[in-house]
Amino acid sequence: MSTLSEHLLREIRELPAKFPQLRSAVMPALDLAQEEVGHLTPEAMSEVAAALNLDPGYVEGVATFYTLFHTGPIGKHRFYVCTNLSCALRGANEIHGHIKARIGVEGPEEVSADGLFSVEPVECLGACEYAPMLRLDHAYHYDLTIEKVDALIEARRGAKV
């Protein structure tokens, strides 16, 4: 019994056809695996490697290089808070600290007790005119205040029930 579903593995096997060379398919494949499992477990990475005829160590090497791949558990909703200089000058560290306190975690490896949230301070996200800002659920949120961040959290807590 594999970690990744049969139809996902089939999709992964079809990816190389989109690229001039097979290896280019590794990151799109890891995307699919991460989306299905939640994070990249050793089993998920091995199955991606097998589906693409690549060495498991190679696949893990790629997965651990990039910020957007997670090899440990993350919340259903992960806050990526820009804390680079432009955002720090406008209060990003306070925003980041507030989120940690509100969801009850101390670092990026932790997940909130209800499994809903995790938070990670990240480097510049390229939306500096809206600082402080963050990325959550594939969308940017701008001109952050404590109130706005609270609303983002509450909306997702409410959606759970």
């Binding site: 995307d31 790629v62 990039y66 957007l68 990526y80 680079n84 200089l85 500096c128 990325r135």
Partner: protein, 441 residues
Amino acid sequence: MAPKSELRGSHGKTAGPVLTRWFGTENLHRLDTYVKKGGYASWRKALTQMTPAAITDEVKASGLRGRGGAGFPTGQKWSFIPRDMPGEKYVVVNADESEPGTAKDRYLMENCPHMLLEGIAIAAFAVGANQAWVYIRGEYDRPYSMLTEAIAEATKAGHLGTDIYGSGYDVDIRLYRGHGAYICGEETALLESLEGKRAQPRSRPPFPAIKGAWGRPTLINNVETLSTLPWIIENGGAEYAKLGTEQSRGTRMFTVSGHVQRPGNYEMEIGRPFRDLIEGMAGGALPGRRLKVFWPGGSSAPVLPAAMLDTTTDTEELKRLGTMGGSGGVIVMDDTYCVVRGAHRLLQFYAYESCGKCTPCRIGGNWAVRAYERLLAGEDGPAQLALLDRIQAGLQNGRCLCGLGDSAGWVIESTMNHFRNEYEEHAHSNVCSATGAMAVA
């Protein structure tokens, strides 16, 4: 697209003459609006009335330089591609915008994705490529979906795809998402990533023009560079060269961020002083505060003190002052923030983003971060100053395959040069004059 009220930067009445001339027009991201404005006329002209050599000559005549950071002359870069070499050639678009303080490529893609696509098509035809890959940073969800839609629209309407305008020429534009790595802005690291590897810069030669993506001749240009091409083809290279200065032609996008009243993405003719940008367009300092320092071209560009706001954006002038126009990301800091703390934050960035391939960068960045931590904690300050001085020298001057290590060194060196007093205060009395408080790490 951002609602108009959300557009922060040149648009409408404040639009610039080239890149943002139509910004603020409702639905500019849609094909019909773009075409109504005159979009894709340059591509049609280039493909049906010009030869690749003639297009390259116009770009050379325009004096356009790469807007990603390095500022290499665009036309010259094109001429390195061996047009007659049989087999596949590629255009790769660097849309991995991640230099701290830089958001202008996002602004261009979100407001006018077709302008980028038109530029890509022109460049591809000029260098003889039939396939282009846009390497877009993974966090740019909205630009990614807007480009996806724009490609579909343009292909359906026959501006892209096969036998375009009955010319027999085909061009196919595809998107590839990055996964969060600053180093991918460096063009050979980007190619490694596009090939599905850890993004570590390649040693050169061979240059990407000869051996680039998947081992084939590859032209790599930045989003803003390519977005400028439709204007140049429409109006001619000579017309573009009338804008700007002798060594830096045209206009460019600047992202102004940090301690200003109106952070935003502004198009400005090159050669005007930073004062026009920071105090004019971006509204200057916040009420009751005074500007202290600015990074003129992304966090990698050595800093200038606010007393030098009359410095112009001309490449040569910036070079004389030991800095650069870089990515156009202008980060502004006022007197309420500590320069040492700001430098510490940036060193954390360079240390984290080092790909680990070259020793000085891999070791030096982390070493500098620890020295900053001790300096800010008041632990043996004078020794940390001496150490930082040694580290910055060791990071610089071509000791690494790419510029990441140099950039880290420049942050230390330039902030120490211009704000030695703040470093000395921390080192000798553990006091931070910027906040008036005792320093706390």
